[in-house]
C-alpha cells in the first residue's frame, strides 16, 4: 500500500487529531484552560461570565488552529461540554444554525475520545441532563428542601454523587417517580437558578420534562426526536408536547416568522448556558472564520453573535479562531467597536515548529508505520533539517509537512499540483469517514442553492416568501423553483409549508417548492397526521421533498468543505475555481432539482430508511473492526469490508469504526486507510 504518512495536513474533525508535538503552541492552550478554570469554581449552580471571547490568531493558514481546538477538546474531557461550530451561511438565521449545530454536537460522545457513541455510551447531552438533575437533587437535599423518611440524607447524597446515567436510566421506578415529581423539581430548579440571577426563557418545567425524556427514556424514539426538535427551537405536535410535559406556553407555534425562529433559537442557547451552571460550562469554538467574510452582512453577524454570547450567556467560553490576513481585511472591518471589544486582547498567537519539534513531528507521523523502509532515517537526516532550519528557526506545521511529503516521495521538486477532481474526491472520502457529519446541514445546502446554483443560466435571488418558509429562489428558463430548509416535524408547520407552496403553484403552475430531508429526520408527512393525504398529494404535484442518502450528503457536504478549504487557504485552489468545479460536478443533483415531472421525483413516499431510527453501532461489529485493525495494523477500508462477515455497508463500518479512538484514518482521493495507533 503506497501511503504517505505526511500527506494529511488538514484537521477537519477536532475530535480526531494526531498526537500533539510537545511544546508546540502550549502557551495558547494553557491560557485557554486557565480561562476555563474561572468557570468551574464555586457552588452550583454557577453563573459566571468571562470578560470576552478568546481569540486565537494564526499568522497564515496551516499553523494548527483546528489542531489546537482538538487538543483543547482532549484537555477538557469531562470538564466542559464541547461545541465545534462550522461557519453558518445565512446570516438571517445565524442563531438557528448555531443552535442546530449545538444540538448535533451535543450528540457527540461524552468521552470526546471518539466521534460516535458506542452501545450504552452517553453523549454530551445525556451527560449534561444527568449532571443537571443530580445536582438539583443534591442542592435540594443539602438545602433541606428534599427529605427522605426512610434513609439518611448523607447516604442519598453519596448515592447521587456516584450514580451514573446508565444506572438511573435502568431504574424504571426512579425514572417514573422523577417524571411524576417534575413539577416540584422544576420549582426547585427555578429557585436555585433565580438565587444566582439566572432566568430561563422557557419554563423550568418544560426544560426538565424535555431533558428527562431525552436522557432517561431513550426507548421512546418518537418522543426523543420530538425533544430534539424542541431543543432545536422547533415546533412540535401538541399531542407529543403533552406527553413530554411541555406546557402550551412553551410550545413554539408552527408559523413563526424567520426572525422569531432566530430569536427563539438564541433564547434556547441562552437557557442551555444557564442550565450548564448545574454541571459544567460550554465551550463554543468558531473555526474557519474566513468564510464569514463572504459578504459584509455575514461578517457583521458574527460580531453580533459573539457579542450576544459574551454579554447574554452565562457559563461558557467562546473561542474564535482566525487567519490574520483575512480576519483583518474581510471580517473585522465590518464589526462595530462593541463587537471588537468582546474579543479578549491580546490575541493568542500560534507559532511554527522549531527544529526539535519538527523532528518530533516526524517521529509522531512515523509511529506505527511499517518498519524496514529505511525512510525514517532519511526523514530525520540532520543535513536536510539543517538546510530547512538554517534559513529560519520556525516553520508552519503544514509547510513542514509538505516538505516532508516531498522528501518521502523522493522528489527534489515540489509534488505536482493535485488535480482539482482529486482534491474534491479527497473531501468526499473524508466526509464519509465522519458519520456525525452526515446529518441535516442547512448551511451547506443553503450555500449550494444560493451561491453555487445549477448553472450560469439560472437567476438566483435572495428571497423570502410571505410566510417565510421559502427562502431561496431560482429562475431557470422562465420557471421558478423555491427552496426551504426545515428540519422540524410539526404537522401544522408542514401543512402551512404545503399551503404556501400551493399558493405559489396556483399563481404559476410551472413552479415548485423544494425541501431537503436527511435520514435522521422523521418522515414527511408523519404517518399519523390528519393532513398526510393532502401533503402526500402535494408531493405528487408541486412539493418536491428530496431525501438525501448518506452517499449524496457526502457529495454535497464535501462540496461545501472543498469551498471552505479553498477560502481558508487549506486547499491550493481559488474559491471561484472551487465553485466552478462544484457546479459542474453536481450536475446530476441540479438535474434532480430541476426535474419538472413529479412522477420522476422519486414518488410520493419517502424511502423507508428515513423512517427508521438510526441504531447505535453494534458492539459486535465494533469488536470485529477493532480486532482486525489491531491485528493488521494497516489496511484499506475496502480490505476491511472484505473481511467482515456478514457484510456491512461502508456507512455502517464508519459508524462503528468511529467508536474506536485508537484507529487513525487517512483519506486520499483514491482510498481510505485505517491505522492502529496505540495510546491515542
Amino acid at each position: 500500500m503506497d501511503i504517505n504518512p505526511f500527506e494529511s495536513v488538514i484537521v477537519s474533525e477536532p475530535r480526531r487529531i494526531d498526537t500533539p508535538v510537545p511544546g508546540l503552541n502550549d502557551a495558547p492552550l494553557d491560557s485557554l484552560t486557565r480561562q476555563l478554570d474561572k468557570l468551574t469554581g464555586g457552588d452550583l449552580p454557577r453563573a459566571v461570565k468571562l470578560s470576552g471571547a478568546q481569540f486565537i490568531q494564526s499568522p497564515a493558514p496551516g499553523y494548527g488552529k483546528s489542531h489546537l481546538i482538538g487538543r483543547l477538546f482532549k484537555a477538557l474531557r469531562g470538564q466542559a461540554t464541547l461545541i465545534y461550530q462550522r461557519p453558518y451561511t445565512n446570516a438571517s438565521t445565524c442563531w438557528k444554525s448555531i443552535l442546530l449545530k449545538m444540538v448535533q454536537e451535543l450528540e457527540f460522545p461524552e468521552s470526546a475520545a471518539a466521534e460516535f457513541c458506542g452501545e450504552n455510551e452517553a453523549n454530551q447531552l445525556e451527560a449534561l441532563v444527568h449532571g443537571i438533575l443530580v445536582n438539583i437533587a443534591i442542592n435540594g437535599i443539602q438545602g433541606g428542601l428534599i427529605t427522605f423518611k426512610d434513609r439518611e440524607n448523607q447516604d442519598v447524597l453519596r448515592y447521587f454523587r456516584k450514580v451514573s446515567l446508565r444506572q438511573l436510566r435502568f431504574n424504571r421506578r426512579w425514572v417514573g417517580s422523577v417524571f411524576e415529581k417534575r413539577v416540584q423539581l422544576a420549582g426547585l430548579m427555578e429557585k436555585q437558578l433565580k438565587a444566582r440571577g439566572i432566568f430561563l426563557n422557557a419554563s423550568p418545567l418544560s426544560w426538565l420534562s424535555v431533558l428527562i425524556h431525552y436522557a432517561y427514556r431513550p426507548e421512546q424514539y418518537e418522543l426523543r426526536q420530538a425533544c430534539l426538535d424542541w431543543l432545536r427551537g422547533g415546533s412540535i405536535d401538541d399531542e407529543e408536547a403533552g406527553r413530554i410535559g411541555i406546557p402550551p406556553a412553551d410550545r413554539p407555534v408552527h408559523d413563526l416568522a424567520m426572525e422569531q425562529v432566530n430569536a427563539a433559537a438564541k433564547d434556547r442557547i441562552t437557557d442551555f448556558c444557564g442550565l450548564a451552571g448545574f454541571f459544567r460550562p460550554f465551550v463554543f469554538c468558531f473555526d474557519q472564520t474566513e468564510n464569514y467574510g463572504s459578504d459584509p452582512f455575514t461578517a457583521k453577524s458574527l460580531g453580533v453573535v459573539i457579542q450576544g454570547l459574551v454579554d447574554g450567556c452565562f457559563n461558557h467560553m467562546t473561542i474564535v479562531t482566525a487567519n490574520q490576513a483575512p480576519w483583518y481585511s474581510v471580517v473585522q472591518p465590518h464589526w462595530e467597536h462593541a463587537h471588537r471589544d468582546r474579543l479578549c486582547q491580546p490575541a493568542l498567537e500560534l507559532k511554527g515548529l522549531n527544529r526539535d519539534q519538527a523532528c518530533e513531528l516526524v517521529r509522531i507521523r512515523l509511529e506505527g508505520w511499517p518498519p524496514g523502509l529505511g525512510k525514517a532515517a532519511v526523514m530525520l537526516e540532520p543535513a536536510w533539517l539543517d538546510e530547512l532550519f538554517g534559513q529560519t528557526k520556525e516553520l508552519g506545521v503544514r509547510h513542514f509537512l509538505l516538505e516532508c511529503s516531498r522528501r518521502w516521495l523522493g522528489s527534489a521538486e515540489p509534488p505536482p499540483q493535485p488535480e482539482i477532481a482529486d482534491l474534491y474526491q479527497a473531501c468526499v472520502n473524508k466526509i464519509k469517514t465522519q458519520p456525525k457529519r452526515l446529518v441535516f446541514d442547512p448551511d451547506a445546502l443553503y450555500w449550494l442553492v444560493q451561491e453555487v446554483a445549477c448553472g450560469p443560466g439560472a437567476a438566483v435571488r435572495k428571497f423570502k416568501s410571505e410566510s417565510g418558509y421559502l427562502i431561496a429562489c431560482w429562475e431557470v428558463d422562465g420557471r421558478k423553483i423555491y427552496f426551504g430548509f426545515e428540519p422540524g416535524h410539526h404537522f401544522r408547520r408542514w401543512q402551512a409549508i404545503q399551503k404556501e407552496a400551493a399558493r405559489y403553484h396556483g399563481a404559476d403552475p410551472s413552479c415548485k417548492s423544494v425541501f431537503f430531508r436527511t435520514p435522521e429526520l422523521r418522515e414527511i408527512p408523519g404517518t399519523a397526521w390528519k393532513t398526510a393525504p393532502e401533503i402526500a398529494a402535494a408531493k405528487g404535484r408541486y412539493l418536491h421533498i428530496i431525501v438525501l442518502s448518506g452517499e449524496e450528503m457526502a457529495e454535497l457536504y464535501a462540496a461545501y468543505d472543498f469551498y471552505m478549504g479553498a477560502v481558508e487557504g487549506d486547499i491550493p485552489i481559488q474559491a471561484d475555481a472551487a465553485v466552478g468545479f462544484v457546479r459542474e460536478r453536481l450536475k446530476p443533483f441540479w438535474e434532480r432539482i430541476l426535474e419538472p415531472v413529479p412522477e420522476k421525483w422519486g414518488g410520493g413516499k419517502e424511502e423507508p430508511e428515513s423512517a427508521k431510527p438510526r441504531a447505535e453501532p453494534r458492539a459486535g461489529l465494533i469488536k470485529t473492526i477493532r480486532d482486525i485493525v489491531r491485528r493488521e495494523k494497516f489496511l484499506s477500508v475496502t480490505d476491511l469490508l472484505g473481511k467482515i462477515s456478514p457484510p456491512v455497508t461502508e456507512e455502517e463500518l464508519h459508524r462503528a469504526r468511529a467508536c474506536i479512538p485508537e484507529i487513525q484514518v487517512y483519506t486520499s482521493p483514491s482510498m481510505t486507510v485505517l491505522q492502529w495507533r496505540r495510546g491515542k
Partner: protein, 258 residues
C-alpha cells in the same frame, strides 16, 4: 455564456503554460494580440487569481504558472551559470566579474532580484566578493577551489548565518536598533506580533531593500521569523514587502527579543 467562454479560455491558457513549464510564454505564444480580447481578459483574471505571473517586463512578457514563478531562484541560477562560465584567456588567472557580468541574461522580475540573489550566493559561499577601491568583484567559489588547494568546502547555511550582521556589506546603513524599536511600536499598536514587512518599513522609515536584507539575516540567525501571510487578500503595498524564502513570498515578520 460569456462566463463560460472566459473560463474555457482560462483553461486553455493554463494548459499552454503547463506545457511550457518554467520557460513560460509571451503574449504572442499565448495567442493574445488584442489587449481587449477574451484571451487578454482571461490572462488578466488568471493573474488576479495568482495562478499565472509575468516573469518578464510589461513589454517583453514571459508568463508562467504560479508554481514556476521563482524569480529569486532563477536569478541565482543565471548568476551562478554566468559566474561559472567566465574563464580567463590565460591559465592560472581568475577572471573577476562585475555585477554587470553576473546579471547577463536576467530580465524583468528576475533582474529585480539580482542584488538579493548575489547576497544569497555570497552567504551560501557559492560566490565570493572582492573589493578594490570602490569597485566590487565576484568569483564563483568553484573557480577558486579549482585554482587553489586548501580552500574549505562550503559550510551549512547555519554556520554562515552566524556571521555578525554588522559586517555584511548589504546591511550598511541599516539602523538595527531603530528597526527593532519600530517593530515594538508597531506590534504593540496592532496587538499581534507577526507584522507586515511593508508596515514595518513604513514605521521604521528605512529603504525596503535594506530592511529585507536585514530581516533575512535576522531570520538566518534565529532572531526573526518570516511568515507567508496570505497573498490572496493582500494589497499591492503589502506584497511589495515580500521576502522570498523557500521560493515563496513571505509577507510577515516577527522579531523575537534578543
Amino acid at each position: 455564456m460569456a462566463q463560460q467562454s472566459l473560463e474555457s479560455k482560462k483553461g486553455a491558457i493554463v494548459g499552454k503554460l503547463k506545457e511550457a513549464g518554467a520557460s513560460g510564454l509571451g503574449k504572442g505564444g499565448l495567442g493574445i494580440k488584442d489587449a481587449k480580447s477574451l484571451g487578454a481578459r482571461a490572462l488578466k483574471a488568471l493573474q488576479e487569481e495568482r495562478r499565472v505571473a509575468n516573469l518578464g517586463t510589461p513589454k517583453k512578457t514571459r508568463y508562467v504558472l504560479a508554481e514556476f514563478y521563482k524569480p529569486l531562484e532563477l536569478a541565482c541560477g543565471q548568476i551562478e551559470a554566468n559566474a561559472k562560465k567566465a574563464s580567463s584567456s590565460r591559465s592560472g588567472i581568475l577572471e573577476l566579474l562585475s555585477r554587470k557580468d553576473l546579471e547577463k541574461g536576467c530580465e524583468g522580475q528576475i533582474r529585480k532580484k539580482v542584488d538579493e540573489a548575489i547576497d544569497w550566493l555570497v552567504k551560501e559561499q557559492r560566490l565570493l566578493r572582492f573589493r578594490r577601491g570602490r569597485s566590487i568583484f565576484f568569483v564563483h567559489a568553484e573557480k577558486i577551489r579549482g585554482a587553489a588547494v586548501g580552500i574549505p568546502s562550503p559550510e551549512p547555511a547555519k554556520t554562515v548565518a552566524a556571521e555578525p550582521v554588522e559586517t555584511l556589506p548589504a546591511l550598511a546603513g541599516v539602523d538595527r536598533r531603530g528597526i527593532r524599536a519600530a517593530y515594538q511600536r508597531l506590534a504593540r499598536r496592532l496587538g499581534y506580533s507577526n507584522v507586515e514587512i511593508s508596515g514595518l518599513r513604513r514605521e521604521a522609515g528605512c529603504s525596503m531593500d535594506a530592511l529585507k536584507h536585514f530581516l533575512l539575516d535576522e531570520s538566518r540567525q534565529g532572531r526573526a521569523v518570516l511568515t507567508l501571510g496570505d497573498w490572496s487578500v493582500s494589497s499591492e503595498e503589502t506584497r511589495a514587502g515580500a521576502i522570498e524564502l523557500f521560493g515563496k513570498p513571505h509577507l510577515l515578520v516577527r522579531l523575537d527579543a534578543e
